[in-house]
């Protein structure tokens, strides 16, 4: 049997005592009209108490459909003045098993939106001031007959152009960047470790740092250390051959 919680047992006990006291008082005063329970039901309840519980179990519904005495609400009272019965107790653990831990959260407004707004404002301000001071380059109109020396790709492709000086174009321009991009895409499927703590991922952070440094160094060399004919120069000696 299910164990019934103590507070429910206490409540039932109190209700039983109260009902007993009331019926006792009603019987003493002999004034049945005062009670809201119809007289014939009280009689039956007394009889049941005296003669055993058989009569109540026989007709449990008779008390529910009892007609109101003087146009009031129909009263549904069982033996002993009970208006409801405890059928079963469902423990909370069996139906709502909460597994997730509560997460420390804050409201998006204002905590996140305010930060985003300030960041956007700072970014706009920076861009505005920078654009005020530095003009975007606009050289002579395009001329197919005059190749500038050196001709450089946009800065983010200068790493590739730098590779072109070392490898066959198919390796430098297609294979290496292709492999790099695919490796980048597949990184989460290749790296099966779960932890995201830096001390547990020294290999992956090392690989990524090498990957990023590889491109950064190539881009810097391509941008600042390549002069006419894409030959190696020093920017402090021959000047910078670089336009953004």
């Amino acid at each position: 049997m299910t164990e019934i919680p103590e507070h429910l047992l206490k409540r039932a006990q109190a209700a039983r005592e109260k009902a007993a006291a009331e019926s006792g008082a009603a019987a003493q005063s002999g004034d049945a009209g005062d009670s809201r329970i119809p007289a014939h039901l009280l009689e039956r309840s007394k009889a049941a108490k005296a003669g055993g519980s058989v009569a109540v179990a026989d007709k449990p519904s008779s008390s529910v459909v009892a007609a109101p005495l003087d146009g009031g609400v129909p009263m549904a009272a069982g033996p002993g003045g009970h208006t409801q019965r405890l059928l079963t107790v469902v423990k909370s653990g069996s139906i709502q098993d909460v597994k997730s831990e509560p997460v420390d959260k804050v409201h998006t407004w204002p905590h996140l939106l305010a930060v985003e707004f300030v960041a956007a404002l700072a970014c706009t301000t920076f861009l505005f001031l920078f654009s005020w001071v530095v003009n975007a380059p606009l050289l002579q109109a395009a001329n197919f007959n005059q190749t500038p020396n050196p001709s450089k790709a946009p800065w983010y492709f200068l790493g590739l152009q730098e590779l072109l000086t070392m490898f066959h174009p198919m390796i430098a321009g297609v294979t290496l960047p292709g492999v790099g991009l695919v490796a980048l895409m597949f990184a989460p499927y290749l790296d099966k470790t779960v932890s995201n703590r830096p001390e547990d991922r020294k290999f992956m952070t090392g690989m990524m740092t090498m990957f990023l440094m590889f491109w950064a160094v190539l881009v810097i060399i391509g941008s600042f250390f390549r002069g006419p004919g894409f030959n190696f120069t020093f920017p402090w000696r021959d000047g910078i051959f670089f336009e953004l």
């Binding site: 985003e116 960041a119 861009l127 002579q140 109109a141 198919m170 980048l184 499927y189």
Partner: protein
């Protein structure tokens, strides 16, 4: 007679304004614009309930949940890089639309249009500068965003696919920047793109075909300018927006940004 006219006290300007505001906020038009519970309908006083409503009853609900993890709002964790990349994308769209009013993508007009944009259009030079520097800044911020995500291990399950979407977005950012590079049609643009597209031709099997389609010919020419213009202002932004939508949706579906280290 005078007394009957003066029967109603004259409303002060403040009262009139309040009355006008009330009738405006009670109108069908107003109530159709703002959802029930919107702070523009019921006013705002600071309470947890109203803080939720600010997100819940506005279009921001597509982007942000009502509550986020406390560590997620730390600037030192994200450095705002993803958000700034998106913001720069919006900024570039706005300045780009402005530039489109003054630009014709033909070999005969392109350079001249940029020249006159800078010299005779109000704020023309400023907007062009912002577009150019903003584009470089966006490449940089997307790149740094990727590095940040990697070093935090934020690409791990369940965020693997969103990382893939992110790499696609990085590629799209580079393509957007590269196609825009040609449009001024000056010596810098022409020869930078010539160098870049020469590499493309070495792709195995389809290299020369892809190059032909992208250049609209064997060499860069007037056709290339029109093609890259359409790619730059229409195709790549369109594709980027779709991937951005997937990217943002997945951020929320995968449980917000990654946890603290």
């Amino acid at each position: 007679m005078a007394s009957t006219i003066e029967e109603k006290p004259r409303l002060t300007l403040k009262e009139r304004a309040a009355k006008l505001g009330e009738s405006l906020q009670g109108s069908q038009a107003w109530n159709s614009i703002f959802r029930p519970g919107s702070i523009f309908r019921k006013g705002y006083t600071d309470s947890p309930r109203n803080r939720s409503y600010v997100i819940m009853n506005s279009v921001l609900y597509h982007l942000h949940p009502v509550k986020v993890k406390r560590h997620a709002v730390k600037v030192s964790y994200t450095l705002c890089l993803g958000g700034l990349s998106f913001f720069l994308f919006i900024l570039l769209t706005v300045t780009g639309i402005f530039l489109m009013f003054f630009y014709r993508p033909t070999a005969a007009n392109a350079w001249q249009d940029i020249q006159s944009l800078q010299t005779s259009v109000t704020f023309g030079l400023m907007v062009r500068n912002m577009h150019r520097w903003g584009a470089h800044l966006m490449v940089l911020s997307v790149f740094l965003h990727m590095a940040r995500v990697f070093y935090h291990g934020a690409y791990k399950a369940p965020r693997e696919f969103n990382w893939v979407v992110g790499v696609i977005l990085l590629t799209l950012t580079l393509l957007l920047s590269f196609t825009g590079y040609l449009l001024p049609w000056d010596q810098l643009a022409l020869w930078a793109v010539a160098v870049g597209t020469n590499m493309m031709g070495y792709s195995p099997v389809i290299g020369s075909q892809v190059r032909f389609v992208l250049l609209g010919g064997v060499e860069i020419g007037a056709e290339t300018l029109l093609r890259w213009y359409v790619l730059h202002v229409l195709l790549f932004p369109f594709v980027t927006v779709i991937f951005l939508a997937i990217h943002f949706w997945r951020v929320r579906k995968d449980g917000g940004i990654s946890g603290p280290l």
